[in-house]
């Protein structure tokens, strides 16, 4: 009796562990079974490098959206990473203990704010400001990049701070003994020592920026055309799905699923590079 109970429980736990594997397989199955035929019908080249997205005219080129995601993500990294890494340096090496007790929860609060609230903030404050300073509608690559830069800030700060604290103290002390000041020791010894950990944080932030949807929709303008200026609107892969899924049918719908499949592959690449960086750190 007891023996049977033990084996049933063991099987149940094993099943629970493999639930995540089944889920990933199921998600893959649904995305690719629906997406790949659509890509084949449109033509892989026409789908990936086509610059026109006009479902009404049978044109399904997602190049504008891929570039849109790329630009906004790059912009977010340019905006968020330097600020994030320097804030992490502050928290790890310059911050008095008492201030840290306020700053840490503040950063995790920033991480917990829902993306609609970020988007709303961007829409109500950043978009008018950008309109005032740069003209146009204010919904642009620049606005979206800055907002996403803020959104990835907590990820970059948390991971980088942990990486900085993981660098052996003897490195820092050695640098001081060689005549470095506190600042130069931190920047030229500790920071390079924490490089791969910081890189991991940047990659995590990249994943978040590529996948972000609601905040981007509210501030990026969403025009499905090739972006030609920092101050013009752009549509990301994620936005494309949300904006049109509600009414799309047939090939249009499948093209959107194919967009999600591309996004899935994109993020898989990000995850793989993250595990490579993580593993290199451990060896």
């Amino acid at each position: 009796m007891n023996q049977a109970k033990e084996s049933i429980a063991a099987a149940l736990f094993l099943l629970a562990a493999f639930l995540s594997v089944f889920s990933v397989l199921l998600i893959c199955l649904f995305l690719f079974v629906n997406g790949i035929p659509a890509i084949a019908e449109i033509g892989p080249l026409a789908f990936l490098s086509g610059v026109n997205w006009q479902p009404g005219n049978g044109l399904y080129g997602i190049a504008p959206m891929m570039l849109g995601s790329l630009y906004i993500t790059a912009g977010a990294i340019l905006a968020g990473v330097p600020a994030g890494v320097l804030t992490a340096v502050f928290m790890a090496e310059f911050c008095p203990e008492r201030l840290l007790r306020v700053l840490r929860p503040a950063v995790s609060l920033l991480a917990g704010i829902p993306s609609v609230v970020y988007g709303f903030f961007g829409l109500m404050l950043m978009v008018p400001l950008s309109r005032f300073f740069f003209g146009g509608s204010g919904k642009s690559i620049l606005t979206a990049s800055l907002l996403l830069g803020v959104m990835i800030l907590p990820t970059v700060v948390t991971v980088s701070e942990a990486a900085l604290r993981a660098v052996p103290r003897s490195y820092y002390e050695g640098a001081l003994a060689l005549g470095a000041t506190h600042e130069t020791a931190v920047f030229f010894v500790l920071l390079p020592g924490a490089k791969s950990g910081i890189m991991a944080g940047v990659i995590l932030g990249t994943g978040r920026a590529v996948g972000e949807t609601m905040a981007v929709i509210m501030v990026a303008g969403n025009q499905a055309v090739l972006p030609d200026s920092l101050f013009h609107g752009v549509r990301t892969l994620t936005a494309n799905i949300v904006l049109e899924m509600g009414y799309a049918a047939d090939l249009h719908r499948e093209a959107l699923i194919a967009t999600a499949a591309i996004l899935f592959v994109f993020l898989l690449l990000v995850n793989v590079s993250f595990s490579i960086v993580k593993e290199r750190r451990q060896t």
Binding site: A9, A10, F13, L14, A16, A17, L19, S20, V21, S23, V24, L26, I27, L31, N34, P82, A83, V85, L86, V89, F90, E93, F94, P105, V107, L109, L110, G112, I113, P114, S115, V116, V117, F120, F121, M124, L153, T181, E183, T184, V186, F187, G207, G211, T213, M214, I217, M218, I241, V242, M245, G246, I257, A260, L263, L267, L268, V270, N271, F274
Partner: protein, 275 residues
């Protein structure tokens, strides 16, 4: 020269920290200042209609959705963690695909979950836009989070406790349920509550699974609108911006309260271990 470089670096670091603090204060301050004056009783009226965009139904829907999604995800995630820490042998080959899958799930953007939910739960299983479809979708989304935090909590239970339990003649199952899980409970609950926070803040995965009906659901197959989705609808329609600010305040406070609970539990866990 050396002194100037040091000063410059110091200035950079302080400027960045000030910038981060400023952004946080600006964001929270702006929402609070613009939103709090519009927290009127009408906003909390029992029903929503197009004249009075009450958030009460959305608040209830959020609670229902969190409860249902966690009911599905928490046991699965905790059991998976039990398997990984208590049952699998160290370096077992079965663990590799599980970890890989959990990491992949954790990295997927919410819109991919939303699309999958729309295809599978709403489409193939014919549930339609429903509370159940939304809950299942979000359960998948928070599963890796619950798995990871539970695993960490279980790993932090000292091995000697398990040995003591085995020594007293308890079986594996009894050890897990009477010794290991109770000891890890604060850490596990912290993870589950973090999951609740993510569910409360989620929008993209819900629009095409749970739908946007702004009323209290009659059954798990009714379409529902959570607070985040409600907030998005108000903001994108642009007709009730004052109410949107007030809704943002409520959403912010809700998520803040959830995160504080999680942090307190996590703190309790580390204090018990160290004390």
């Amino acid at each position: 020269m050396r002194k100037q470089i040091s000063l410059l670096l110091r200035a950079l670091v302080f400027a960045a920290a000030l910038f981060t603090a400023f952004i946080l204060l600006l964001l929270v301050g702006y929402i609070l200042v613009k939103g709090i004056p519009h927290l009127t009783p009408a906003l909390f009226a029992w029903t929503y209609d197009s004249k009075n965009v009450s958030l009460t139904p959305a608040l209830f829907n959020t609670a229902f959705l969190i409860a249902l999604a966690l009911l599905l995800a928490a046991p699965a995630g905790i059991f998976a963690a039990v398997y990984m820490t208590e049952y699998a042998r160290r370096g077992s080959r079965l663990l590799y695909p599980v970890r890989l899958a959990a990491e992949t799930l954790a990295g997927l953007p919410s819109i991919v979950y939303g699309l999958f939910g729309a295809l599978f739960f709403v489409g193939s299983l014919k549930w339609g836009y429903s509370l159940l479809a939304g809950a299942c979708t979000l359960a998948l989304m928070v599963l890796p989070l619950i798995m990871r935090t539970s695993e960490e909590a279980l790993l932090s239970v000292p091995g000697i406790w398990r040995e003591g339990s085995f020594g007293l003649g308890a079986g594996r199952l009894r050890t897990v349920f009477s010794v290991v899980l109770p000891a890890a409970a604060p850490g596990i609950s912290a993870g589950v509550i973090l999951g609740a926070g993510r569910i409360a803040g989620e929008t993209a995965a819900l629009i095409f699974t749970a739908g946007t009906a702004a009323k209290i659901p009659e059954s798990v197959f009714s379409s529902t609108r959570t607070l985040s989705v409600h907030m998005y609808t108000l903001a994108s329609e642009g007709l009730y911006l004052d109410q949107a600010y007030a809704t943002a305040v409520v959403l912010l406070l809700l998520v803040l309260a959830i995160n504080i609970c999680a942090a307190l539990l996590a703190k309790k866990m580390t204090e018990e271990r160290n004390g």
